[in-house]
């Protein structure tokens, strides 16, 4: 068990190293540099600025410096926001994105399991059809459309009751998070619903369910202690990629709802060609995703004892 975890972690670190290298290379392929965009400046000043950010050194040296700093956990200083370090930006804005993401994953997972179960239990009836129709809609409509419609409906409701029942945008309190998290989680929820439904339907025909029925167990008991527990496994496996999908979707939702999260910062940094911020955020996000997937795999090993992760077959 421990050796498996260590092995996965080492593999994860190697992946992060490759992500860092790819980011570095991509950034140095980008035409233009963050300094030339600014006001005209004398060569002396330019040289000074280049020296400060280490741009005067050869690319190989820059790469080594970048890697060593990164290993120390130092992503450098922003080009456009004077004296603000990338670590600072991450510390200030990642918690916002993470809170939103966690809430979205929770909503998606709970909704997915609930609606998937409803659909599977009422297979072929109108409840099932309605849920499956909504699922198709959920995977086919982009999240910014849900975001816009959600805002519109909320505005109308707020107008109708003449008070702010839920705020339409911005960030701060829990009520600010609800709509964005729901919008962010909808696509994933739709996917999980479908997954949960097909996984439940597969299990219905298993021998142990028939045995349970033959024993005369009540339906409720069969569902909760046999069907649900087994069917939920694929949903848990998917949570790793789901976290990735949700962080990605966060870009759009953060921009529509004016949430000061990391995604919005990344887009802004790209527009301003802020080298250090782009590299820092990409590596940070990459590392986050890689370790999230590892974490989910390890948790999966605990949840399903049939899978012996010690052999590296999770």
């Amino acid at each position: 068990m421990l050796s498996y975890v260590i092995k996965r972690l080492v593999a994860g670190l190697v992946t992060v190293f490759f992500i860092a290298t790819a980011t570095f290379l991509a950034m140095h392929l980008v035409p233009g540099d963050p300094i030339s965009g600014a006001k005209a400046m004398s060569p002396e000043i330019r040289a000074n600025i280049e020296a400060r950010y280490g741009l005067d050194k050869p690319v190989a040296v820059q790469y080594v410096v970048f890697l060593t700093n990164m290993m120390k956990g130092d992503f450098g200083i922003s080009f456009t926001q004077q004296n603000r370090s990338v670590n600072d930006i991450i510390a200030g804005h990642f918690p916002i994105s993470a809170t939103l993401g966690i809430l979205a994953v929770l909503i998606a997972a709970m909704g997915g399991v609930l609606y998937g179960s409803i659909a599977a239990l009422t297979r072929g009836k109108w409840e099932d059809r309605t849920v499956m129709f909504l699922v198709i809609l959920g995977v086919s409509v982009p999240s910014f459309v849900f975001a816009a419609l959600g805002q519109y409906v909320l505005t109308e409701i707020n107008k109708r009751f003449d008070t702010e029942i839920l705020p339409v945008g911005g960030w701060g309190t829990f009520s600010h998070m609800l709509l964005p998290a729901l919008v962010l989680g909808l696509g994933t929820m739709a996917f999980l619903t479908r997954l949960m439904r097909s996984s439940l339907l597969e299990i219905v025909n298993q021998d142990y369910i028939r045995t349970a029925k033959a024993k005369g167990l009540p339906t409720r008991r069969i569902f909760f202690s046999h069907q649900l527990r087994n069917a939920i496994l694929p949903v848990i496996t998917f949570l790793g990629p789901a976290i990735a999908a949700i962080t990605t979707g966060g870009f759009v939702v953060e921009s529509v709802f004016a949430i000061p999260g990391l995604g919005r910062y990344f887009v802004q940094a790209v527009n301003q060609l802020d080298y250090t911020v782009i590299m820092g955020l990409t590596v940070f996000y990459g590392a986050f995703l890689v370790f999230m997937v590892i974490l989910v795999d390890i948790i999966y090993g605990f949840v399903d004892p049939r899978i012996s992760i010690a052999k590296g077959k999770a």
Partner: protein
């Protein structure tokens, strides 16, 4: 004893040769014919297929049927609601505005502003139109200035006068020229005298505005337009956007971008994936190890971040529409799924009996790959491709929506949504139509994919 033949003549007469016979088997159908029959039975999938074909026709034929230039900006028709051509009034050329200043007006510095009288009369000057409304009023005794308010609902009291348009300093300046964002409809203007503070009395005038264009603009549409005539404008079935461009024409051209990326990116990266996965699965060993390691690595990259990173790395210079970099970025980052799928299939098939039999008969590698292995993976890959199309369309829309995709002025559905969402509450059509197009396209491909999966791959048939 009776002759048995005469007693039961029918039973013992020789059977005549008939042409009727029963088929002991159905005609043999190829895999693809069989799949097509199954697909045709699936109404949802068939309807989706028609939608997809319709979209392609819309994109290819559209520009020849709907001949409106998508980049033509008509600033007199900004954010127009959908209509089949409306009539507008041809107006005289704008004359320079001359302010009316009365002589002999006395301001009384001591007067109490709140108790000033309302003006006696407001007079419209010239022809009011959406290009401008001008009016003058009789000066109010003792006023040191006037405030002008405008609203589109009839004001009932002092509080409901609407937007304060202007504050005029000087009691002798008694005219106003409003050209601020006027649209066809009824407007109410209120003039309130003031001296320090504003009077509680006011005078309202209502003006009905017709949509109008100036003579020179009218003559550029139809050369013999005359002042005062009604001129029929071109139809805008889906309205116009925030720069007065025709939405339908832009949606057609946006479809080109969105569907181009939606079709070609998946096609190219699935081909790349088949190549890599095929090589990996067929040859196995060291090659397989390395290729799969690369695959795992690419899979671990945070997709959208690298999409953006690669897109700017491959360079969208000024004037570049940014489609090509997006295509490259999508291919570089998305081939992994198809590669893994193909590898898995090939690994399975490689050991199957019919392939081994063929190998035993002396088939070469290339023959095996192209005759046996690839055709048998094609079904699964086609299903994968169908699901890859909507995800590519989604990616394009997302990127364009956050401003990292196709560069303006090239329209794409995603960037049109981005433009439209800013005024969604006021002009919903600017957002709803492109959003609808994205949703319907993705929906159609998803349903078609479901249908194809059921038809092509009975093993993976979705349970219903």
């Amino acid at each position: 004893m009776m002759d048995i033949k005469t007693a039961f003549p029918l039973d013992f007469s020789p059977v005549k040769k008939t042409t009727e016979f029963t088929l002991s088997s159905r005609p043999s159908l190829s895999y693809w014919q069989d799949a097509w029959i199954r697909l045709k039975k699936n109404k949802q999938a068939l309807a989706s297929l028609f939608i997809v074909v319709g979209l392609v026709v819309f994109t290819l034929i559209g520009p020849y049927v709907w001949r409106v230039d998508p980049s033509n900006q008509e600033l007199s028709r900004i954010s127009e609601a959908p209509s089949l051509g409306r009539s507008v009034l041809v107006l005289p050329e704008e004359v320079a505005y001359e302010e009316v200043v009365v002589a002999g007006h006395e301001e009384s510095p001591t007067a109490d502003g709140a108790s000033l009288d309302a003006t006696a009369e407001i007079q419209i000057m010239g022809v009011p139109s959406i290009q401008g409304v001008r009016f003058k009023w009789t000066p109010v005794k003792g006023a040191a200035g006037y405030s002008i308010y405008r609203t589109q609902t009839e004001p009932k009291d002092r509080e409901s006068l609407g937007v304060p348009l202007s504050s005029i300093e000087g009691g002798n300046r008694v005219s106003f020229d409003d050209g601020f964002d006027l649209q066809a409809g009824r407007y109410f203007y209120a003039v309130v005298a003031k001296n320090g503070e504003e009077s509680s009395k006011f005078k309202v005038i209502s003006v009905d505005l017709k949509a109008g264009i100036s003579l020179s603009d009218a003559q550029s549409i139809s050369p013999d337009a005359k002042i005062g005539e009604m001129l029929k404008m071109g139809a805008r079935p889906l309205g116009t956007d925030y720069l007065g461009r025709d939405m339908l024409a832009r949606l057609i051209f946006g479809a080109r971008v969105s569907l181009f990326i939606g079709f070609f990116a998946p096609l190219l990266y699935v081909i790349l994936g088949i190549l890599i996965g095929g090589i990996s699965g067929y040859f196995g060993g060291k090659i397989d190890d390395w290729l799969m390691r690369i695959t795992d690595f690419v899979l671990a990259l945070p997709f959208l971040l690298f999409m953006i990173l690669f897109k700017i790395a491959f360079g969208a210079g000024p004037g570049d529409d940014g489609i090509f970099p997006m295509l490259i970025a999508l291919i570089v980052l998305s081939w992994t799924g198809a590669a893994r799928l193909t590898r898995g299939q090939i690994l399975q098939l490689r050991e199957s009996e019919f392939v081994q039999a063929s190998r035993l008969l002396g088939a070469k590698s290339l023959y095996l790959i192209f005759r046996h292995l690839l055709p048998n993976t094609l079904g699964v890959i086609l299903v994968y491709l169908t699901f890859a199309v909507p995800s590519a369309i989604f990616t394009e829309a997302f990127l364009s929506f956050i401003g990292m995709g196709v560069a303006p002025p090239t329209p794409s559905w995603g960037s049109m949504c981005n433009d439209g969402i800013k005024s969604f509450l006021i002009h919903p059509h600017e957002f709803i139509f492109p959003a609808l197009f994205i949703s319907i396209t993705v929906l159609a491909f998803n349903l078609l994919g479901d249908g194809l999966r059921d038809a092509l791959d009975p093993k993976m048939r979705s349970q219903s």
